[in-house]
Symmetry: C5
Subunit: 87 residues, 5 copies
């Protein structure tokens, strides 16, 4: 997984029907040499802009949505506690 | 997912029969430290050159085509709204 | 796999129910040109901060947890012996 | 997918029996910030040195070989037309 | 696949039971802009330190071991012939 900060919501009116109802957010990786890399993640646990989140990628993102047919490759699996300072 | 801009159509007359009828486009990643990385994506939702799109990669691309036997690893899943300025 | 050093524990109180009871740790890749890249890994073999570990990524991480439904994409599969000096 | 130029044939006399009869070629990514990255690809459509090809990676490479048991992670899926100038 | 040189053996006494009996080696990618990147690979064809090998990654590594439950993500699939000079 990677640690990323959610920096914006992504809107796509024209999209696959399989994605209806899903929330997409722009995330930026924090820490380490890949800091600043951006990806778009799917969120189903109620994360918001400014949150530092744990993001899973690849086929595991579909496991997070509990539907193996949805074509997403990155999803928020947890919101990192504010008390976690080093991450 | 990554955000990319579609910059050209890719033509390959000699190709796998499984790919007949599919449209391939050259895309360039926008934003973040991986900006400028290029990949070729499959599009089935009618995106065009100049559009900023949401691209899914890996096995999820086959989910977008709803056919697990097609050998593609990147597909457009949505066209980002023009009003989305920060992405 | 990659070799990484565990540098901290990651706490996420709000997370997917599927992750309850799992331990997440921040890891930093050691050696080679990707040194310093960070990822968050799941550990089920009792590794601790300061350990150099072997990390598997992607769908194989779910094999390590022996549960294909858990949405993780990186897991510790072994702790590298201290006598292994070059790695 | 990525666009790559085939630059050499790769010979491996000692290899997995599952790979017998398959042709492996060294490819170099063209265009974008990942230009110059090299990978070895499997070819079953008759591509040759100097061709610019479309390469699929990951589990989709096994779909190209139509055999999910062959341990390859990159395969040529098409030869890009010479008239495609910008790619 | 990538071409890598095997540079050391990796020992991990504390590891997943599923890995018992497997040999792990430290490998360094050769050639192209990703030269010098390191990964740990599983070898079942008898490769040794100093060999240049073909490495498959991701779910295909499990195909090389012919056991989809083993949590590895990189495996040697062939030893490159010494006469292959450009790779």
């Amino acid at each position: 997984m990677v640690i990323a900060e959610l920096i914006d919501t992504v809107w796509a009116t024209r999209k696959s029907e399989q994605l209806n109802g899903l929330k997409f957010m722009l995330a930026e990786i924090k820490g380490g040499t890949n800091e600043g890399e951006r990806l778009v993640v799917c969120d189903v646990i109620g994360a918001g802009i400014g949150d530092r989140v744990l993001v899973t990628t690849g086929s595991s993102a579909r496991r997070m949505l509990e539907d193996d047919l949805i074509p997403v490759d990155a999803a928020v699996i947890g919101i990192i506690d504010e008390s976690c300072e080093s991450v």
